[in-house]
Symmetry: C2
Subunit: 551 residues, 2 copies
């Protein structure tokens, strides 16, 4: 998790350095290829982007015809330019966004035009100087007030663009009215050319390959549920995996990608929901798109996601329960996780197929899995005693061959902390490298490659002042004292892991409730026992051998 | 946590219903007062908003003078309107955002103007029909290509507005060139009036009460560190609090508000960082504002924040360690949390005062606190055995008077699950109500108010079909079976709590590292032992009585 953070910040740095580096001529073709690749990827990721680009091109050409074709130009005149401007600004990716912008633009122009006309009416008979002062004052007051109102959250969310257009049109008309006498004509022309522009935009976005934000919101909700399920599955599998150095980076990515979209979904969800609230009904399924309920499901999923992050955190804590102990609880944990994933997959399937969830969504097997975990925990009471001898005792019985590893490992690790951290960073910056390298670099006693790493550290931190160096050393020393004197109960981290799994089962309830409510409000169809049962696939393979109770 | 989600979704619903409800005349003054209150609050929250509104008013008035004053108008002419438009669109809240938009607008106009001029040059001598076709094709191609390019993440992030303006200007000039012969004049006028507009905007935003995004980013980082510290403190205090019904909703809010800003900070941080990357150096402290490092610190803090969410989750799990057991570990946990908060506060103080952090930031007392927690855990080995008798045994010795509460409570709770959930929702929707009400409503046997609540449930779910009702009942039943048959080790949830605290200490390391790196790169001043020591305040009061070992 934290290495992902580093990775991304590395990307930022790379971007920076690539901007600064003088482009060598030999590298130009390579760079061009990379850029073209990027451009290609954008379209491949979501082919609707290509369609949208073509739609914009067509709309612009259509609106240009107003100016290019003689008969049309005679009707509209020079102000056809406003229509062109409108199309450029209003035509957005999704129908909802276009509607939101278009109606905001139309409404803003209409209201501003009326107000400007009113002001013109008031100052019509006054002298020139008075008019100039009055116009200046009106511009100042309206400008300040509208800008202030745009900070109000409700207005910012729904009518920000309308306010901007209001300000624009008002200033345009009021100020021009000082020198031009045909203000009404200006206002009128501006309004109806904008209406033409908005009309073309709506036509294109609602009728030609329409892209619905509501549909995106629906799909992203399904994807989030599936992602969480995959994340939990990969997490549990990795926690109980026997060999560490096999394709861990793959499963790392899987875990991270699974919950990443959920965690960062707030702003995207809210934007999509806002746009879809502007969209007309576009399916037979529902009277009105229940965008608020998708946002609610998203919020509940984020809450659930935080537990998954915490579970992932268990894989990466500094203090780890030895693998030999973990393996005792492998079966019940994997089964419980499997049941959790099954429920999440069923929820995803139910939303995807727009049907209510299975009445047996909280199945017997979930209960059995919970009970099994419970009895497994009870069958190993000594584990939670947390004395050192106990830890050794169990390690000797275990099969991982890592005898009480964290004590010795941590002493080494912390002596070289600055170095190992660096090594970790290095490993992390190359996504393909397996995590095992970190330990192997340290050597059996941790001191083999220490001098080299230390040199790296000094080199890297050369910007820091000497007192900074001293400070870092002092810190490392104080931390060695802290870590070596720790002898926490070895099973404590596992307890946290198990507790989080149980906690997730409890939180699942909130998720089910929200999804059910969504189903009711969105008029999903009834669950059909015969046809819908096959939807749920169980992806976690259950290990056949029961390890619990063997010892 | 989850009730916060409900609360917010309630707000959404309220908003909805307030929109739909027909405004009664008696309620109008009340409503007006509420709206005025909201408007007032926006300015009170951040007085810079008022300043910004006034700045926009002044800029608009200034730019209107171009049109209103005779000598200026003679120089600029009718295209002064472009300057007005530019000011409306470009002048943003912060200096960085204004610079970003202004330069994008200027650059976009310049490049589009050049391209349009080139096309005009190519088709200059052709026939009218060919020209019309050529212009139409150019509009289509450029429109589609630019729209497509705007999807590329790098361009979307930095140059989205520039691309839009490019498209706008290109269409404007190319299309007009069909009927107007003075294209160069149009392009020229458009460019220099836009330059005047941008100039006024930059003048206002850089010189008159400048608002720096970098400054905001700096302050928000400090606030996030402080918020996390407050959150942890409140979490631990509430976990070990003896009476539940005293001002819990206050501490709930405190915990939630503390980490909320951290969790939702991603998009805000990135926007602020993007704007501040456009800002010139504006302080003596630093050669260049290290916006990437603030983003990095933000990412690490979000990771830390997820642990705090998980810790908060421990307060709300369905299965709880009895208070009588928790109290045994109160002192070491509170002390460890206190040390954590101390480190976070010191980091906040160091960033706030732009100085490096104290060299003793990882102090002896953190180590002592960790050791104390360790020995406290070891001194109570029986707790992690997880049998029922054991739980009762300890409850009898304890002082909370809740003897093995979760077993009986859960049976009641789950019988009325639908009802109690409703009651919970009701309680939750009124933030001021103490949480204790929920239990009191259920009555001693949980069945007293059951019929009433059940009726509510039926009423509320009246939209659901009858089979849905049956499904819910069946679910409740299956859940009763699950929950009552659970006899998890009672100390397991506490183990998770303790483990999360220890995990936080480990994660603190990442935070310290990033803040130190930020300090080095941002050229913060050296730590001064005499003057800077007083910055750190320890806010967690340490309880005097040592409970551990008394039993």
């Amino acid at each position: 998790m934290s290495n992902k953070v580093h990775e991304r910040s590395m990307e930022v740095e790379e971007e920076e350095s690539s901007k600064k580096a003088s482009p060598k001529i030999q590298e130009l073709p390579k760079k061009m290829k990379k850029i073209l690749n990027n451009i290609w990827k954008v379209g491949k990721e979501d082919p609707r982007r290509v369609k949208h680009a073509l739609k914009v091109g067509v709309s612009l050409t259509l609106v240009s015809l107003l100016y290019l074709l003689e008969p049309l130009f005679k009707g509209v005149g020079n102000s056809a330019m406003w229509a062109v401007l409108t199309v450029v600004v209003v035509l957005e990716f999704s129908a909802g966004a276009t509607l939101c912008k278009g109606l905001n633009r139309g409404l803003g122009t209409l209201i501003a035009g009326s107000l400007a006309f009113f002001i013109e009416f008031v100052v019509n008979d006054s002298g020139k100087i008075f008019r100039a002062i009055f116009i200046g004052a009106a511009v100042f007051i309206i400008g300040a007030v509208i800008t202030y109102l745009r900070f109000i959250p409700y207005i910012k969310k729904n009518y920000d663009y309308g306010m901007l257009i209001f300000l624009l049109t008002f200033n345009l008309i009021t100020v021009s009215s000082y020198r031009v006498d045909t203000v009404i004509k200006i206002a009128h022309e501006r309004f109806y050319t904008i209406a033409i522009g908005v009309g073309i935009c709506l036509l294109m976005s609602l009728l030609v390959f329409p892209i619905w934000s509501g549909e995106d919101l629906h799909k992203s909700t399904v994807a989030k549920l599936q992602g969480l399920s995959l994340s939990i599955e990969a997490c549990v599998n990795e926690y109980f995996e026997e060999e560490k150095d096999k394709e861990t980076s793959d499963s790392e990515d899987m875990i991270y990608n699974g919950y990443k979209t959920v965690l960062d979904s707030k702003s995207t969800d809210e934007a999509l929901a806002m746009y879809s609230s502007w969209e007309p009904r576009h399916t037979r399924h529902c009277h009105r798109f229940p965008w608020q309920h998708y946002v609610k499901v998203g919020a509940v999923l984020r809450q659930f996601g935080y537990s998954v992050v915490a579970l992932h955190g268990c894989l990466k804590t500094e203090i780890q329960t030895p693998r030999s102990i973990r393996v005792l609880f492998k079966d019940p944990c994997v089964r419980l996780a499997g049941e959790l994933c099954k429920v999440l997959s069923e929820l995803a399937a139910s939303i995807q197929n727009r049907r209510l969830c299975s009445p047996e969504i909280l199945s017997e097997s979930l209960q059995v899995a919970l009970q099994d975990l419970n009895s497994a925990l009870k069958s190993q009471p000594k584990l939670f005693l947390g004395s050192n001898e106990n830890g050794n005792n169990i390690s000797q019985n275990g099969n991982s061959g890592r005898h009480n590893p964290y004590v010795s490992q941590h002493i080494n690790k912390d002596t070289n902390d600055a170095g190992s951290r660096l090594a970790q960073n290095a490993v992390v910056s190359r996504p393909g490298t397996p995590r095992g390298e970190r330990t192997s670099r340290l050597g059996p006693n941790g001191g083999v490659s220490f001098s080299r790493l230390k040199a790296d550290t000094l080199e890297r931190r050369s910007t820091a002042v000497t007192s900074g160096e001293r400070r870092i050393l002092r810190q490392q020393l104080s931390k060695i004292v802290v870590m070596t004197s720790l002898e926490f109960s070895e099973a404590l981290p596992f307890a946290a892991f198990a507790s989080l799994l149980v906690e997730m089962v409890a939180r699942l309830d909130n998720v089910i409730e929200e999804v059910e409510e969504l189903g009711t409000i969105a008029c999903f169809k009834e669950y059909n026992t015969d046809t819908d049962r096959t939807d749920v696939e169980v992806r976690v393979e259950k290990p056949a051998d029961l390890v619990v109770g063997v010892e």
